[in-house]
């Protein structure tokens, strides 16, 4: 079991190998389909992004609403492949770690390798368990997107598995 704290250094990132189980602590940002579309639109208009990308992690999730007194509801990962065309644009801007679920396109894998980025997965459908690892959720951008808005999450020992490492390793085709 590997423990990482955000922001993750390049050395720590490059040391990850597919199949490694990684517990993440610190700050991660949520973002899925519509938030990705809007971020890429901003970049194409040379506008700044609502979140930093360098050394940061984007987690593909749309949680259920938090009940009173709780930071978040169920919050497991959504399928990552839908973000592939957007990741292509975000990775060269500094995004080097993404968390989602499922395999991704060959194109994405090529881009990932070029950027020496890492793709982590969570277990889909265990959103209740994962909610226990989120200590705080703060709305950062796009509130109109509801569950798809960008939140800054403070996580503790958030459980992930390395699916694609920065050296071409792939957990789905081992």
């Amino acid at each position: 079991m590997i423990r990482l704290h955000t922001p993750v250094s390049e050395i720590d990132r490059l040391n990850l190998r597919f199949g490694d189980e990684v517990l993440i602590s610190g700050t991660i940002y949520t973002g899925r389909d519509q938030a990705h579309r809007l971020m890429v639109e901003s970049l194409s208009k040379n506008e700044s992004l609502p979140i930093p990308l360098e050394g940061q992690i984007i987690y593909y999730v749309g949680p259920t609403p938090a009940k009173p007194g709780q930071p978040i509801g169920a919050c497991g990962p959504t399928s990552s492949y839908r973000m592939d065309p957007f990741s292509k644009i975000l990775m060269p801007k500094g995004l080097k770690i993404m968390i989602g679920k499922g395999d991704r396109s060959e194109d994405f894998k090529k881009d990932l390798l070029k950027e020496k980025a890492v793709y982590l997965i969570g277990i889909g459908g265990i959103g209740a368990l994962m909610s226990k690892r989120v200590k705080k959720a703060t709305l950062v951008a796009f509130p109109e997107l509801q569950s798809e808005a960008i939140y800054e999450l403070e996580v503790e020992d958030f459980p992930t598995i390395v699916a694609y490492d920065a050296h071409g390793g792939d957990i789905f085709t081992r």
């Binding site: 277990i123 889909g124 209740a128 789905f172």
Partner: protein, 284 residues
């Protein structure tokens, strides 16, 4: 003629929505536990273990099993002795609206597939009606997740492709889906009918009880063989490899045109949430 008060339906649907989001059916839990026993030590066994742990926690603390609390799918069996002076679909949608809001469930429905504005209450539901004998209204409800629905497929095969063609299409669907539809899966297969009927009976198939067997001998044999062949693919829990890709295969069939062999495969993730209710009509 018999009558059911609109409020009664609203209240029942509200309950079904809230309950199914946190309580996984016991049969599904049993199948998951059996799969856990069979899976050899390693990452895939751990994944199954966490899936089982998750449903315990969800039940105990009323946290949704999964953040994708679905789009509401309802199959209604409407007794022919019942009479309604209101729109049944309105009643269902009101129950769904209340259940998703009061239950702190995710609103995952947008107004238009391209405009994509959230409707903020998870309506409208997708509703199918069927008329039956008697004075009861039976509601089958499932909050159907997007991940497994996105990996479902419909194929218009030719009659010559036969049973081998059908099997190949089903196996290809599961293989192409990989970890994305959140295996272990329940695989609903609809064979025959036409373009939309095949999809509809595939959807009905995932509503069948897990221990249920198809009545037609060909369908029944297919269910057994496909389960074995899907699990032999080695996709495994969440696509990480292993013995358990599928918990159960359900095949529904329907008569079809001499030129056609439609096949639909509707995938259901391991968070196979369902609720069923029967409401009896009363005299006015």
């Amino acid at each position: 003629m018999k009558y059911i008060a609109k409020e009664k339906i609203i209240e029942k649907v509200r309950e079904m929505v809230m309950d199914s989001a946190v309580n996984l059916e016991q049969t599904v839990c049993e199948y998951l536990k059996k799969a856990f026993e069979k899976e050899p030590r390693g990452l895939s066994k751990n994944v199954l273990g966490q899936i089982i742990e998750n449903q315990d926690l969800a039940r105990k603390e009323h946290i949704p099993l999964c953040q994708d609390t679905g789009i509401a799918v309802c199959f209604l069996e409407v007794g022919r002795e019942l009479e309604f002076d209101y729109d049944l679909e309105d009643a269902l949608n009101e129950g769904i609206r209340q259940g998703y809001i009061d239950g702190y469930l995710r609103k995952s429905v947008v107004n238009h597939p391209l405009e994509r504005k959230n409707t903020l209450d998870n309506t409208p539901a997708i509703v199918h009606f069927k008329q039956t004998e008697g004075d009861e209204l039976i509601i089958h409800f499932a909050p159907k997740g997007g991940g497994s629905e996105n990996m479902s497929r419909l194929g218009m095969l030719t009659p010559g492709e036969g049973i081998e063609g059908v099997k190949k299409f089903v196996l290809d669907t599961v293989r192409l889906g990989g970890g994305k539809p959140c295996p272990p899966l329940i695989v609903g297969v609809g064979i025959g009918g036409n373009f939309e009927k095949a999809a509809l009976i595939a959807k009905e198939a995932i509503f069948r009880p897990l221990e249920d067997e198809a009545s037609h001998p060909i369908d029944k044999k297919l269910e057994v063989e496909l389960l074995e062949e899907i699990n032999a693919l080695g996709v495994g829990p969440m696509g990480l490899g292993g013995k358990t890709t599928c918990l159960s295969v359900k095949v529904n069939s329907y008569p079809c045109h001499i030129a056609s062999l439609p096949v639909a495969v509707n995938l259901q993730c391991h968070s196979a949430r369902k609720a069923h209710a029967t409401i009896k009509g009363v005299s006015r």
